[in-house]
Amino acid sequence: MARKVTGRHVAISTVAAWLAGFVIFFPILWMVLASFKTELEAFATPPSFLFFHWTTENYVTVQERSDYLHHALNSLIIAGGSTLIAMLIAIPAAWSMAFSPTKRTKDILLWMLSTKMMPPVGVLVPIYLIYKNMGLLDTRSGLVFILCLGNLPIVIWMLFTYFKEIPKDILEAARMDGATIGRELIYVLTPMAIPGLASTMLLNLILAWNEAFWTLNLSTLNAAPLTTFIASYSSPEGLFWARLSAASTLAIAPILIIGWFSQKQLVRGLTFGAVK
């Protein structure tokens, strides 16, 4: 900590950080801008940045054509539900692997990850048939189930790394004081791992929110989330960028807001680890 932080350093790093932030944010900004253009302006070369004829016509069209709230509610239920269930399964799993590992723990972790290595389309037909026979096609519970399964390996891995950083001694001390496993999990481990839990939850929520393969293929109408809403605005024949941008802006708005609120926890979870 002997390095001297000069005013120039601060200025340079501030500018660099803002620049990096702007570059990362630019595609989203561009999408929002395009959603206020006419189709012709959205496709024009060279594109205009701010000085175009602003219009909300695209939002009106999107609102008239599709039931945004229905899709948004489905997205919320599917992403939220699958995240909650995944957390319920993943916390005990990661806890047992982090605090009482066996010689096979590493293999189990790798095996879990290996399920993510196969492209989902490889199992589309079998899953579709199973879902058809079980009456799960176009149901929210079906989508919650498949997204939960799909994200579990990542959730367990993330939690495992957070838990690993918590010193075993603290848990042992709790045990010495007579804490049961349940109490140990709830009163000792969870508070210490909150930043990790929060960032895992948010990441899983975002992954489930954006999942477009299973949600498109296993839903029709009743369970169709925002991914199908977006997919209905792209077209190989005819201009669609402005309308698609409006639909996409609406689709990312909720998750953007949730992300905004939990930003602090997310950053802490990703950078600090479990022990402060």
């Binding site: 189709e39 939220g80 029709t220 109408l221 201009l239």
Partner: protein
């Protein structure tokens, strides 16, 4: 930390509560219709109320998807008999394949006043198998030349109604003004069986090439294909826009509408976009001609129709047939005309539309659309005999994969990362391999 905890738990409670609200129940027959996202279909969606007013016992729900997503979605569903849709929007490529697999219900009960005889004969052929209609065409299209009359006049050129490739090539070279940002010709280059291969297959037909001979042997090693691809690559190099290998319909539409192309050969449905002053800077300066030929009796134009079909095993066939009969009827055209004007009726399906004076008045491209559709024959697409059905595709299940693989080679040849000979050799070997694997050839 406490606040976060409560906030997260509140979110969890909210989500749990939302999960408990079940889907609404419906008592009547509800039709779920899968369709593509294009103007005519969206208009039909908007007019659903007219149908349900006349048929109060039927409710209609729409699943609108982008073409490629839709194709994957409905193919999975019909192949597994998932039963998620009551009416499917499919193209002329799917109809013969699916009908032969008995996946579709033959549409012979569309009512006495449906007048199936009024459907344009070539379109009807494309959606029929053994003389039976398996899908009802909603809108049909072919391809044609769209050109800038002002640029042609300035250069002293006159576009014949049915131009030859030689004329088109010379005109394209003459009209190219690269410093001025005008390119002689814009053509598709983006790889895909429905993208560059739709155009190139139709073009190859006019040069007498074919995908397969009568014994399903791939034909990319023939001189006809070599002439086709060489002509295309050289023409685009000299008179095409930069980066053409990533241009599809929409990119070319934008180029043409902003005045950067002297000619564009693409879907007839583009005619209504390029002549629309709201979308196009050159709306009043566009002329139309048949797709070019080489004097062998075939023009380089394709044939496509988005059609409505009923999946076999559906429990709601009767209601579905009622809807299809309504949406593809002559009265539907009149309904659209009364709401949005004749210029906006779905084109290319009915003979009577092309005899309607009011339509002809507002659609300057109508005559050529009809001539283009009439000039394409899905059963005899090219000069030599072929074992397949389809003008710009071969209607076999393997074609999507094969066509896209070949399209990638040809797109690479256009981009200059591969020679024409190498692209043709690669196309030949990959197609041969796939056809052997699928058991067409030994």
């Amino acid at each position: 930390m406490k606040t976060i905890f409560t906030r997260t738990s509140m979110l969890a409670v909210l989500m749990g509560a939302a999960a408990l609200t079940a889907a609404p129940a419906l008592a009547e027959t509800t039709l779920t219709i899968a369709t593509v996202n294009n103007g005519d279909m969206i208009r039909m969606q908007g007019l659903t109320g007219e149908f349900t007013k006349a048929n109060p016992d039927i409710a209609v729900k729409w699943v609108t998807l982008e073409e490629n997503v839709l194709r994957q979605r409905v193919t999975t569903d019909i192949a597994t008999k998932g039963g998620q849709f009551d009416i499917l929007t499919i193209g002329t490529y799917e109809v013969p394949i699916w009908a032969k697999k008995n996946w579709l219900v033959p549409l012979d009960k569309l009512g006495a006043d449906y007048d199936a005889g009024d459907i344009l004969p070539k379109i009807k052929d494309a959606v029929s198998v053994d003389g039976k209609l398996y899908a009802a065409p909603f809108y049909g299209e072919s391809s044609m030349v769209m050109y800038r009359t002002d640029l042609f006049d300035k250069a002293g050129l006159k576009m014949p109604e049915s131009p030859t490739w030689d004329f088109v090539i010379n005109a394209a070279k003459k009209l190219t003004d690269k410093p001025g940002g005008v390119f002689g010709i814009c053509l598709r280059g983006k790889a895909g069986w429905g993208e560059n291969m739709a155009f190139l297959t139709a073009m190859s037909n006019s040069f007498g090439a074919r995908w397969f001979d009568e014994k399903w042997q791939p034909q990319f090693n023939t001189p006809e294909w070599k002439t086709t691809l060489t002509t295309y690559v050289e023409l685009m190099k000299e008179a095409g826009p930069p980066g053409a290998s990533s241009n599809g319909f929409n990119e070319n539409l934008a180029l043409f509408n902003s005045g950067k192309c002297a000619m564009w050969i693409d879907a007839t449905v583009a005619a209504s976009f390029v002549t629309n002053p709201k979308e196009s800077k050159v709306a009043d300066k566009v002329g139309f001609a048949l797709a070019p030929n080489t004097g062998l009796g075939k023009n380089a134009n394709w044939l496509w129709a988005w059609s409505l079909a009923v999946p076999a095993g559906s429990q709601k066939v009767e209601a579905a047939e009622k809807f299809i009969a309504w949406a593809t009827s002559k009265d539907y055209l009149k309904l659209v005309a009364s709401k949005d004007g004749w210029a906006n009726v779905p084109p290319g399906t009915r003979t009577s539309l092309y005899k309607n004076e009011e339509y002809l008045k507002v659609a300057p491209f109508a005559k050529l659309t009809l001539a283009s559709i009439d000039a394409a024959d899905p059963n005899k697409p090219t000069v030599k005999p072929v074992p397949y059905v389809g003008v710009q595709y071969a209607a076999i299940p393997e074609f999507q994969g094969i066509g896209t693989a070949v399209g990638q080679q040809f797109s690479a040849a256009l981009a200059g990362s591969m020679t024409v000979d190498a692209a043709l050799a690669a196309a030949q070997s990959s197609t041969e391999r796939e056809m052997k694997r699928a058991g067409y050839i030994k």
